[in-house]
């Protein structure tokens, strides 16, 4: 009989053998999380769920881009809302979040967890919420929409999630200004190349001399590619898959040149941060320990990311 403790133990022991590639690491994370779900389900008073449901993860997990350590981001979609179902999934959602924390995925600061009613709804309620988010266009709700768009099903049928994503896709087709709101939401990036072409590193603190990979390297790629995916109605979640799909369209071929290779290299750098002790550690790359070639490579990746980010903004604004 599995428990959260036994899953954690297994995870800590087995993790090192899955760290060769980002793909194997993410597949491993998926397995761990699915085990958590099974244990959580087992703890419910009802032996079987009262209706069909989908459990999805989002954030870096959703994009299949988790590093060694990652906090939890997930949500629930269930068939129908009624008193019995609402109670069951409330309890299940809370149990999942608790279990994920036990196993080593810390609680999410932004409260994007199945324990939060905002991220735990029936299909119909989800539809209403998504449209509400798109209508009111608040900064937070626009961000929630993009987070939702990175959702990937771990358990249950995939239709609920793809149906909901197409709600977003069709709404933005009819409301072109929505895309601009999406852009405004991710327009800020941490500039990491100085006016003299130098790498701008953290000036103080424990990460002195490091480059923040998350904000300056990953996010420009991730955000730009997600934006194009929303625009084109691509429901894949990993940045690599999205790039592949987008490259199938002529208009993006040039723009996305080198992007896939750069992104894969970036993921490798992140994997190299092996001695990570906590979530933050996995984001900081100390450039002092890099060789000259590596520094050059990182710079080129950062520049390419910034260029892509700027081009996508320009393109999307120009078309509307």
């Amino acid at each position: 009989m599995e428990t959260y403790e036994s899953i954690r133990k297994w995870k800590d022991e087995a993790l090192s053998s899955f760290m060769n590639t980002s793909i194997s690491l993410n597949k491993f994370h998926d397995q761990v999380m699915l085990k958590v779900l099974e244990v959580a389900k087992g703890k419910m008073k009802q032996s079987t769920p009262p209706c069909e449901f989908t459990w999805f993860i989002t954030g870096s997990g959703g994009r299949f881009e988790q590093g060694l350590i990652s906090d939890q981001d997930h949500g629930l979609i269930y068939e129908i809302s009624n008193e019995e179902n609402d109670i069951y999934f409330k309890e299940l959602g809370e149990e999942i979040s608790y279990g994920m924390n036990c196993v080593g995925y810390p609680y999410c600061n932004g409260n994007i967890m199945s324990s939060n009613p905002t991220w735990r709804k029936s299909v119909e309620e989800w539809k209403i919420q998504l449209i509400e988010w798109m209508k009111n266009e608040r900064w937070e709700s626009i961000r929630y929409l993009q987070i939702f768009y990175d959702g990937r099903v771990l358990y249950g049928n995939t239709e609920y999630l793809s149906d909901l994503k197409s709600v977003i896709f069709h709404y933005q087709l009819q409301h072109p200004t929505l895309l601009q709101r999406f852009i405004a939401n991710v327009k800020h990036i941490k500039n990491v190349i100085g006016p003299m072409g130098q790498l701008l590193v953290e000036q103080h603190g424990v990460y002195q001399g490091c480059v923040n990979l998350k904000y300056s390297a990953f996010l420009p790629y991730v955000n730009a590619v997600r934006l194009l995916s929303i625009k084109e109605g691509i429901f894949e979640t990993s940045t690599i898959d999205r790039i592949d799909r987008l490259k199938g369209k002529d208009e993006y071929k040039e723009m996305l040149r080198d992007c896939k290779e750069n992104f894969i290299t970036l993921t490798k750098y992140r994997l190299s941060l092996l001695n990570a002790q906590n979530y933050d550690d996995t984001h900081y790359l100390n450039i002092k320990i890099l060789s000259k070639e590596q520094k050059k490579e990182i710079k080129q990746i950062l520049k390419c990311g910034k260029r892509l980010h700027d081009e996508v903004i320009e393109l999307t604004l120009a078309k509307n």
Partner: protein
């Protein structure tokens, strides 16, 4: 005796320059106090470096565009003005320049009130250059530098129009292009209060401005002859006092509360209003001018709010609306002895001067206001296009300009706590 007076004239105007420059300190506190904590370091700090930019540009070309030999539109000599020459019957070039440059900086700082809490730092840099070269000097030339409005007999003793209205019109252009701050207006059109973070700063800022104004108006006599500066200071004090009282009672009558920021804006309104007329009107008129300014500022703030023009520092109302009133008030209250008799325009409507002076004042306000607005609007629109927007990104605006533009907070300890809350609200972490 005459030599002594020349030296005293120079000394008084030099003291005036120092007092007017200290007004920048008043603006720093006023603006920082009127804005939110996350922008405090930025709002305060940018005032220092825009004063630096403004000074260099004004030295290079600004002074020359105002006082150089040229035509009715602009002066075209005396660039890089100022040297070591001694006083020769009047002000030395260096004293004269020092006094003039401070007015340009005050006008520039007023203009930047309209940019508060959302413009990119680079926008401040570029607009400081362009404003100090092409906006302020042109209006100043028209009225003070022998330009076409001076020939009409326009009365603007210390700069209700030249300094305050010009700055406010640039602020208006900026406010319109920048659009309201995030969270200022709701979807249904109702507005929210984005309260400033420190009323004590704002209050102290107003007091410093008030003291500085004795130099602004008092030293605009350009000398100590007849002790006339005392009369100017008296009028200034009376109008400011009347403005503060009037605004406080107006706010109280309207809402039942004697709102502090409104009272403070009333004092400033009194000061702005009397700036044009301090050397032309009787003390009782100064009180009336200040009172009306204090009442006007309250309604003006309300009007801008309704028009969805988000003006965090109330620069448009204090310096714009009231700047217009101050200039027009000459046309009503100017004493014959201080206008017609000394050949500086005509007496006001209430002293038998008819509508002549009022007309001249109105023409001056309209021409200067339109020029400042249109040129600022065009410049900012071009900057908007070229620089990919004047405004910081939403995320930067939410995190605050202290961190986004400068990399450190004005209130580090406080903002560390706020940041933790922001992270939760904005779910920053979820993006990777």
């Amino acid at each position: 005796m005459e030599a002594v007076q020349v030296l005293m004239d120079n000394l008084w105007v030099a003291i005036g320059a120092i007092l007017v420059f200290f007004m920048i300190g008043g603006f720093i506190l006023l603006e920082a106090g009127s804005t939110r904590m996350k922008n405090a370091g930025h709002v305060a700090g940018k005032t220092i470096f825009t004063a630096g930019i403004g000074t260099l540009v004004f030295w290079a070309v600004g002074y020359g565009f105002i006082y150089g030999d040229g035509n009715a539109f602009i002066g075209l000599s005396n660039f890089f003005y100022g040297d070591a020459s001694a006083a020769d019957g009047g002000l030395t070039p260096a004293v004269d320049f020092s006094f003039q440059v401070m007015f340009a900086l005050v006008s520039l700082t007023i203009a930047f009130g309209g940019f508060a809490e959302r413009a990119k730092l680079s926008v401040y840099v570029i607009f400081a250059v362009l404003f100090s070269a092409f906006i302020y000097p042109v209006v100043a030339h028209w009225i003070w530098g022998g330009g076409w409005l001076a020939e009409h007999g326009k009365q603007d003793f210390a700069g209700s129009t030249v300094v305050h209205l010009t700055g406010a019109m640039a602020a208006l252009a900026a406010t319109m292009i920048l659009k309201p701050r995030i969270g200022k207006y709701n979807k249904d059109g109702s507005s929210n209060v984005l309260a400033g973070h420190n009323q004590v700063y704002t209050t102290l800022g107003v007091l410093i401005l008030w003291v500085g104004w004795f130099g602004f108006n008092g030293a605009s006599t350009f000398g100590v002859a007849d002790g006339f500066l005392g009369f100017v200071i008296l009028n200034t004090q009376l109008a400011a006092a009347a403005g503060a009282v009037a605004a406080m009672f107006t706010a109280w009558a309207k809402t039942g509360k004697a709102d502090v920021p409104t009272t403070l804006n009333g004092a400033l309104a009194g000061l702005v209003a009397i700036t044009a007329s301090c050397g032309f009107v009787a003390p009782w008129a100064a009180v009336v001018i200040g009172l009306i300014g204090g009442i006007m500022v309250v309604f003006s703030m309300q009007l801008f709010e309704k028009l969805k023009i988000d003006d965090p520092i109330a620069a448009l109302s204090v310096h714009g609306t009231v700047g217009v009133w101050g200039t027009l008030s000459n046309g009503l209250f100017a004493l014959p002895a201080l206008s017609t008799d000394i050949d500086w325009g005509q007496a006001g409507l209430f002293y038998g001067g008819g509508f002549t002076q009022l007309g001249v004042q109105a023409l001056g306000v309209a021409a200067s206001g339109i020029y400042a607005f249109v040129v600022a609007f065009i410049i900012l629109k071009i900057m908007d296009k070229v620089m990919g927007g004047l405004r910081v990104t939403e995320e930067e605006e939410i995190m605050g300009l202290d961190i986004s533009e400068h990399g450190s907070y004005g209130y580090p300890e406080q903002m560390a706590l706020e940041e933790a809350k922001l992270t939760t609200a904005a779910t920053k972490e979820k993006f990777s």
